[in-house]
Every structure is written in structure tokens, then in C-alpha cells.
């Protein structure tokens, strides 16, 4: 061996290895951070932790919707040996009760990954906790459970396959219910399988907010049962019903006949899942006469005892025939409502001018969204006076020539009987966290004053008479005063009013002297009875009877008929969750109500009473120790003692009032 040559080779080898060390130094020390970053990026994935969806309760904290922690099992067929397939089939068969053959057939599929068992409940999946086979993996796959199945399904809605709300409050409050998904860093291999979870970098999910509905589960159940019973009995195509608290606009129950089970929403048609109470319009017919009468009374154009000739059942008006179901001669205004005379109503309505009439109808919310916190609401249709024909007003007066939704009628009736205030209907009472702390209290929202409290009281009396001795006697109950109005409208089919198909409805309220419940029943195309008084009124009666018998104490000790205006009002919560545009008058109205209590009595200076309601003005003036004389009615427009001047007790203050001008308030 040549020593010097060997030395050259040793040197050569040392240089070579030194190069390697230098290279390693570069990779493992200098570029380490950079390479580590890329390595980590491929070795880890950020996985979503699904936030637990908020629960849904009824107003008495009965749980209506919750989540079940189901688990779905999947197989990566590429990783499962034939021996293991048999093992899996046997195990799954013993746990889930399906045949072994069933699972073998599933595993014969050509796909790479198959779902072998979908949404297995936890008591079953726990049995598989220790069953580990390569290629078998599971994923949390929660199921939304609507405990009472069909109950309140139209209000609750349902969640789709992506666990987001599709209808009802589930959709309207989806952002609230969903919560915030968390994330975790998962170590994975090149094939994507999870190896382990990096605890330190896990961000937990924030569970969704729970909803407390205004719905009363028991009322809801009663309403649904009675609607279905009614449809069976009277042969209607469908029926819708709404129960509301007139004093705050809360929906206590909202139902459509038929119903659907949100747990299995996919097995129902879109039609079956549609909330007809807010999405379908109809011509209201005679139930609408109450609004016409309210406008006339509120404007002092008609008195209950004013007489009108009902033409014995047939009246030619501007070349169009108006007919009555009950042929009558002379009728008082009271009797027009009691007997539901179209002719009488259309004649009386000629006393009010088109614009004013239209403004009243708009003020009641027709032709406009009620802004209920449910998706899919429609506005119906109310034409403006400038496109009215000579007969439009007459027909509108008894509920033809416009379209409304059941929720609009129910909401407007609330305003009609509660003292004149229109409330925004709502189905969510409050939003709470899991520990019960309130996130958002959804207070009643006053939209506007529509009629005076006095008019409201007069209308209540008229509607009490309807049930006592008019078309609504089928709705009467022994121990409680019921008020209400029937409605029967021919259905408009292909441009002609059908002689065969009717919408039969009844809107009632009780206790009539101080209404706590307003209930609308609408039956579509009944084949037995047809008239609202014969179809919808009995259904209403059954509902009312059951509600009262459930808790008689609630309805017995009613207050005096002269319910003070604004007694139950709470101040409008400006930060309500509704996104729809609020009317400018909303604020005005609430300010007004505020003012009467905020007036500085002690300063000894005369306050500015403008825009005060009559009642409020009287209250303030008497507290100031002044005598008062009122001219007109409505809101204060001027006062004889200039604001800011010091008061002499016992002095006389003349206050001039005017009806609130609704121009521009509701039309936009």
C-alpha cells in the first residue's frame, strides 16, 4: 500500500465528511426554523370544534329543542383487510341490530371511504369505544332534537345537514344559536389520519345562546290539536291559528294544520313545511269590518246607533252588486257589525274619505311587514287610494280587494282591543346563556298608536255583542266574556270569486273587558259549514275553553272595562335585535309616554305639553295644581299658559288637542 497515496485518500475522505457536517450545520441549525415551519404546516391541520347549538325553551322554560351527541362511524376501505371487515360486520351487527350481511354489503362499495353507521346515539357508540380496527374512525355528528316532534314546528323551524337553521327561529336567530366554533391543532400523517391533538393550541368553542320563546307549549298544543280536529271535522284544506297576548305582541302559539316533524324535515314537502300563518295571504272578508268601523268611530263619523238601510240583502253600488248573507232592512251601526252586513258596512264607510281610510288601514299594519322575528314573512297587498276604483273603498270595508296574512290580522286585532297600540309581534322573549344569565331581553316593541283608547273600548263592546247575539254566537262561553268577529271570504280563483271555496275565519279575544288573549283561526276551504261563524268560531271556542280551564285563575278577576291607556307599556328597547327599519314615529310615541312621568313638577314652571296625549296632559296639569279645560281630542297642539312661565296654583289652562296626523307615519 502506498502510504502517501493513502494519506491523500484520508484527506479526501475528511474533506468529504467535513462537507457533510457543514451541510448539516446549514440545514439543521441555520435553516432549522424555516424548515420546521414548513414541516409543521404539513404535519398539522387546524380542525374545527363545532360549537354546541343554543337550546330553545318555551316561555315557561320547557325545553323544546336540544342537541344529542351522536357519533357517525366511517371506514377507509383501503386500510381495512378482509379479515377485519368480517370483524367489523359482526361487531356492528351485535351493537346496532342490523344483519351481518347488511354491513358486508356496505363494505362492498367501491368508494374509498364509506359511512357505515350514521348518527349513532351515544349509548350505542359507547359500546364501540374500545373497538379499534385500522381504517375505522368516527366523528362527532350531533343531532338536533325537537323533543315534542310536530309541536311548534313552524316557529322552531329545523336545521339542515350543515347544522344551520333553515326555517323558523332556527333560521332567524341562527347567528345567535350557532355560537362560535373553536379550533384545535391536530397532528396528522401524510394520508390525513389524526395522530394526536396539540392541547396547548386548542381554542375551545363558544356554545350558542339559548332562546326563550314567547310560545306557551300548552297553548301551542291546544291550538294544534284543535286546528287538526277542526280540519277533520269541517273538511278544510288547511287551517292556521295564532294566539297572541294583545298587551305586548307576544305570540303565545302559532300553528298550521298538518304540521311537520322537524326531526325528519326531509320527508315533508316544501308546502307542508311552509309557515302559512305568515307566508300565505288571503282576503280577510268580514273580520276586516272591525278595522273599518274603528276608523269611523275614531274619527267620530259614525255612532253605534246610527242607522243604515241594508237594502234587504242586495245592493247595486256603482254598477256592482253587493250582497248580504243575512237579508236585513234598517240596521244600526252596531247591528251592521253583529250581523256582518256588507251592504251596511260599505254604506257607512262612504262617510270617511279615501286617504283617511287608507291611513288607518296602513296604521293597522296592512300592506306592510309586521316585522315578526320569523323568516319568510310577506307584506300582503293594500293599494294606494290614487289607484282605487269608485268601489274600492266599499269592498275594502268588508275585507275584499286586499290581501293580508293571518299574522297581520292577529296583530291588528291586538291593537284594536288593547287600547289602540300596535305592537310588533314577536316569538322570542329573551336570549340566555347556558348558566341562565340573560344576554338580551326582547321587550315589547310598540309600533304606533292607531286608535284612541276610547275607540278601542267601543270596538271591544261591539265585538262582545257579535259573540253575544250576532254571527259569532258559536264562540261564546259561559263563564267569560268573549269578543270576536267572524269572516267568510270567497276565494279568488282564476280571477273569479269562487262560490265553492271560502276562507272561513274567526278572530276572538278574552276576557273581553280586559283582553289577555287574542286568537285567530283561519280555515281554508271548509266543505262543512263554510261560514266563519260555523267553522272557525267553534274551533276558537274549543281553544278558548281549554286555555281557560287549564288556568282559570288567570282569566277570572279581570279589571274594570276602562283600562287605562298604556298601563302595561314598557319602554321600547331601542337596541332590539330586529334589523328591519323602525318607524320614526316609534320613538316619538315612546318619548311621549316617557314625558308624562318625567315632567318636572316641583320647578314651578309650566312644562311644554305639546304632543302629549289628552290623558297625559290632564294628568300633568292636575299634578301642577291647575284647572284645565280641554278643546278637541288626541294630542296637545297648543296650551294657554306659555311653557317656561311660573305657575299660579288654581289658574286655568286651556289645552287644544288634535287627532294625531298619520300622514307619512306608516306610508313609506
Amino acid at each position: 500500500m502506498n502510504n502517501s497515496r493513502a494519506i491523500w485518500i484520508i484527506i479526501f475522505v475528511f474533506i468529504a465528511f467535513a462537507t457533510l457536517v457543514a451541510r448539516l450545520f446549514d440545514i439543521q441549525i441555520i435553516r432549522s426554523e424555516e424548515l420546521k415551519y414548513y414541516a409543521k404546516r404539513q404535519q398539522t391541520i387546524v380542525e374545527k370544534i363545532r360549537a354546541d347549538r343554543g337550546l330553545i325553551y318555551d316561555r315557561n322554560n320547557v325545553l323544546l329543542a336540544y342537541n344529542r351527541n351522536d357519533v357517525s362511524f366511517f371506514l377507509d376501505l383501503r386500510m381495512v383487510s378482509n379479515k377485519n371487515k368480517i370483524k367489523i360486520a359482526k361487531k356492528f351487527s351485535s351493537v346496532f341490530g342490523e344483519t351481518i350481511r347488511h354491513y358486508e354489503d356496505l363494505m362492498d362499495a367501491s368508494g374509498k371511504t364509506i359511512c357505515i353507521e350514521k348518527k349513532a346515539p351515544s349509548e350505542k357508540s359507547n359500546l364501540l369505544k374500545n373497538f379499534k380496527v385500522a381504517g375505522l374512525f368516527h366523528r362527532e355528528d350531533p343531532t338536533r332534537v325537537y323533543y315534542y316532534k310536530d309541536l311548534a314546528s313552524y316557529v322552531l323551524g329545523y336545521v339542515g345537514s350543515d347544522y344551520h337553521g333553515v326555517d323558523g327561529v332556527s333560521k332567524y336567530y341562527d347567528n345567535v344559536l350557532s355560537g362560535q366554533d373553536g379550533s384545535m391543532v391536530v397532528l396528522r400523517d401524510a394520508v390525513g389520519d389524526m395522530i394526536t391533538v396539540e392541547e396547548k393550541e386548542t381554542k375551545p368553542a363558544v356554545p350558542g345562546i339559548s332562546l326563550v320563546l314567547t310560545i306557551d307549549k300548552n297553548y301551542q298544543q291546544i291550538l294544534e290539536e284543535e286546528l287538526n280536529e277542526g280540519v277533520k271535522k269541517y273538511g278544510g284544506k288547511s287551517a292556521a291559528g295564532i294566539i297572541m297576548d294583545p298587551n305586548n305582541g307576544e305570540i303565545l302559539a302559532l300553528a298550521n294544520s298538518g304540521g311537520f316533524n322537524p326531526n325528519k324535515y326531509w320527508s315533508y314537502s316544501d308546502t307542508a313545511r311552509r309557515d302559512r300563518a305568515i307566508t300565505d295571504t288571503y282576503e280577510p272578508g268580514s273580520t276586516f269590518k272591525s278595522f273599518s268601523m274603528a276608523a269611523l268611530l275614531d274619527k267620530n263619523l259614525v255612532n253605534e246607533n246610527d242607522e243604515v238601510f241594508a237594502e234587504n240583502g242586495k245592493y247595486k253600488f256603482e254598477n256592482v252588486f253587493i250582497t248580504d248573507a243575512h237579508k236585513s232592512g234598517w240596521l244600526s251601526a252596531r247591528q251592521v257589525i253583529e250581523e256582518s252586513s256588507n251592504i251596511g258596512m260599505s254604506k257607512l264607510t262612504q262617510k270617511i274619505d279615501d286617504d283617511t281610510f287608507y291611513k288607518y288601514l296602513r296604521a293597522f299594519g296592512f300592506g306592510n311587514y309586521t316585522s315578526i322575528d320569523l323568516p319568510g314573512e310577506v307584506s300582503g297587498m293594500l293599494r294606494k287610494p290614487n289607484v282605487w276604483t269608485p268601489v274600492s273603498k266599499a269592498f275594502l270595508s268588508f275585507g275584499y280587494g286586499l290581501s293580508v296574512t293571518p299574522i297581520q290580522i292577529a296583530t291588528a286585532y291586538c291593537a284594536l282591543v288593547n287600547g289602540g297600540i300596535l305592537y310588533q309581534p314577536q316569538v322570542v322573549k329573551k336570549e340566555i346563556k347556558r348558566d341562565g344569565t340573560i344576554v338580551e331581553q326582547d321587550n315589547p316593541i310598540q309600533v304606533r298608536r292607531v286608535i284612541s283608547a276610547a275607540t278601542s273600548a267601543r270596538i271591544r263592546q261591539l265585538l262582545i255583542d257579535v259573540v253575544k247575539e250576532g254571527t259569532g254566537t258559536e264562540a261564546s262561553l259561559e263563564n267569560i266574556t268573549i269578543g270576536g268577529k267572524t269572516g267568510t271570504s270567497q276565494k279568488l280563483i282564476d280571477g273569479h270569486y269562487s262560490k265553492e271555496f271560502y276562507n272561513s275565519s274567526f278572530v276572538g279575544f278574552f276576557p273581553a273587558e280586559n283582553p289577555k288573549i287574542v286568537c285567530l283561526i283561519l280555515v281554508n276551504s271548509p266543505t262543512v259549514g263554510r261560514y266563519g261563524g260555523l267553522v272557525a268560531a267553534p274551533i276558537f271556542k274549543n281553544v278558548a275553553e281549554r286555555i281557560i280551564s287549564m288556568n282559570p285563575g288567570n282569566f277570572e278577576n279581570y279589571q274594570s272595562p276602562n283600562q287605562p291607556e298604556g298601563q302595561d307599556f314598557k319602554i321600547v328597547n331601542a337596541g332590539n335585535t330586529n334589523n328591519k327599519p323602525a318607524l320614526s314615529q316609534d320613538k316619538e310615541l315612546s318619548n311621549t309616554i316617557n314625558q308624562s312621568n318625567n315632567v318636572d313638577i316641583k320647578s314651578g314652571l309650566m312644562p311644554d305639553l305639546s304632543n302629549y296625549s289628552l290623558r297625559e296632559a290632564i294628568s300633568v296639569i292636575s299634578r301642577l295644581g291647575l284647572k284645565c279645560k280641554i278643546n278637541g281630542s288626541g294630542k296637545v297642539v297648543s296650551q294657554s299658559i306659555t311653557p317656561g312661565i311660573s305657575i299660579h296654583k288654581g289658574a286655568l289652562c286651556v289645552v287644544v288637542c288634535k287627532e294625531p296626523d298619520l300622514v307619512g307615519a306608516s306610508v313609506y
Binding site: M1, N2, N3, S4, R5, A6, I9, I10, V13, F14, A16, F17, T19, L20, V21, R23, L24, F25, I27, Q28, I29, R31, S32, E34, L35, K36, Y38, A39, K40, Q42, Q43, M79, S81, N84, A134, L187, R188, D189, A190, V191, I195
Partner: protein, 375 residues
Amino acid sequence: MKKLAVIIFFDAFILMLLGLIIVMSASSTYSEFKFDSLFHLFNYHFAKVVVGIACLIFFSAIPYEIYKKFSKAAIIAITFLLLLTLFIAPEIKGAGRWINLGFFSFQPADIAKLILIIHLAVLLEVKKDVLQNYKEGFLYLLFWVIVIAGLVLAQPNVSNGVLLVFVSFMLLYVGGAKLSHLLVTALGCLIFAGIIAMTIAHSRERILTFIHAAQHGGTANIQVKQALLGLGSGGIFGVGMGHSLQSNLFLPEAYGDFIFAILGEELGFLGSVIVLCCYLILFLAGILVAKKAKDKFGQLLAFGITMSVTIYAFVNVAVATGLVPTTGLPLPFISYGGTSLIFLCISVGILINIAFSSAAVKKPINQNINETVPA
């Protein structure tokens, strides 16, 4: 000399032990994924290591002079075996390299490497007087290098073939061949190897991607890229034994030719350098064994074996760190290697035997060589 034998034995033993651990870590995910068992590949490797150590001990007991008698017959036999391989071996990854004997399959190239080193050592001793003569001496040696390396190249196994030529030339250089002969032949070989490498599709691809990557500052291919990510993740101290994440199927065949990346990830820069030092110690010990061998055959055989192990270790690490184009060469003692590990152990067994033999004969022979072979 006994000390050197012990050093070599334990050096190889430690590397094989380390290999067992790293193979376990690097192959478990793949084994689980492919064979439903974490230990599938490890068990095979473990068996090979046991057989390898047995072979190592067995061959260290056989006097190396015996090979002189069989070298010519062996090299003729292996030539036929290589020819046979060309026709019957099944194609794996575009190269027909393997012979399957049913109970085990092996690469004839692995045996050919050992036999060529033995035969060249024999010839260098036999022809030492006519070595300076091109036709009489040098060409005779070159003939076998070209035959064996040529057949390996033709398989086609470019990387093994090129390294075979390289080790042979080292041997000829140290064995006293004329420098001018070597340089001219090397130049010829280089041109020829270049042509061969560029005609064979998969080696051309590897070389071109390497050149392309080197020009554009990127990394050659997915394996090298993943290997660098593994090495880089290791940092100075490594992620710890068995904690490799790159072995979770990111680095293809992490337990084989790219095992150094997993080693570097788990043991870090310090561990990597220590492993390189192990190879250097083996190299130096081998050179000392060669220097102190009792005859020229022993010297050259020891040198050839040492050189072969060292070059393979270097090239493997150079590939894993992206210094040279990707080759299919295992990391000696550590890679999940199959039969090449067994032949490697046989080589080391022979090396140890040479160390023992020279220890037995304490006669200084170095001067003789210096006299006969002028620098």
C-alpha cells in the same frame, strides 16, 4: 491489532443497534398503514441484523487468505450471475436488480462489489511487478472493473455501478497503479458513465431534476424536500428518539435510503455528526488495519472494504442532504437493507479477520511495500 478489531466490531454493532431503533421509528407508521402491524418491517430488519452479526462473527473466523484461491472462479461465476440477472430478474422501479431464490431475494450487485474488491486485491498483489505496464498489468485489472461495473450499470443500476468504478479506482490508486493510466481511464470512464447515465431514463431524470433544482435554488424532488424538512425539524438536539413526525408517511421510504433524514430529525445536528464520526472512526480503523496487514492482499482487501463502506455512507448522507442527485444506496448498518446488510456484515467480518491475522504476525511489513512500490 486486537484493539482495532474490537473498535471495528463495536462501531458496526452500535450503528446496527441505532439502526434498529431508527428503523423501528421510521417504519412503524408505514407498517401499520400497509401491513396492519407496527412491527412488520422492523421484524424483518431485526432478523437481518441477527443473521448479519452471525455472518460477521463467522467470517471474522475464516482466514482471509482462502479467498485468494477462489477469487477468479468467484468473479467468473458472478459475471454469469449478473448476465443471468439481466434476463430473468423482475423489474423493480425500472431496474432489474434482484434475484429471487424463493426464501430470499438479493441484489447480485452486492456480492459482485465484494468479489470485485477481493479479486482486484488478488490481482494487485499478483501483478505488482507488471502493474506499471499498461497492457500487461493495468489493462488486466481494468478488464474486470469494466466487466463487473458494466454489467451492474447495464441492469441498469447506475449509482452502484459508478461507485463500484470509484472504489476500484481508489484501490488501483492505492495499490500502486500508474497515475497517468488512472487519469486517462478515469476520463474515459467519466465520459462513458455520463453517456450511460443520460441514456437511462430514470437516472437521467434524477440528474436533470438535480441540476434544475440546483440552478433554481429549490430542492430536487419530493423525497429530498421531505428529507430536508425532517433534518431541519431536528435542529441541534433533535425531537427525540421515536418522535419523528416526518416518518408519518411524509417521507417516502423513510426507513430505507432516506433513513438519515429521520435520524437527523430525531437526534438533531449533534446526533447526526456523532453518527458521521462513527463512520469516520470505522474508516480510520479500517485504514490502520490495512496499514498493519501482514501482506499486500490483506492490505488492499482491508482498504477496499473500508473504502466501500465509507463511500456508501458518504453518498447516502450526501443524497439525504441534497448535495448529490438521488441514488438508491442504503446507509450502511442503519438502513432497512435486506440482504445488502448481510453482505456488508460479511465484508466487516473479513476486515476483522485481517485485523486479527496481522495481530498474530508481528512482523513489520510496511517497509517492504514502500520499497517495491515507489511513490
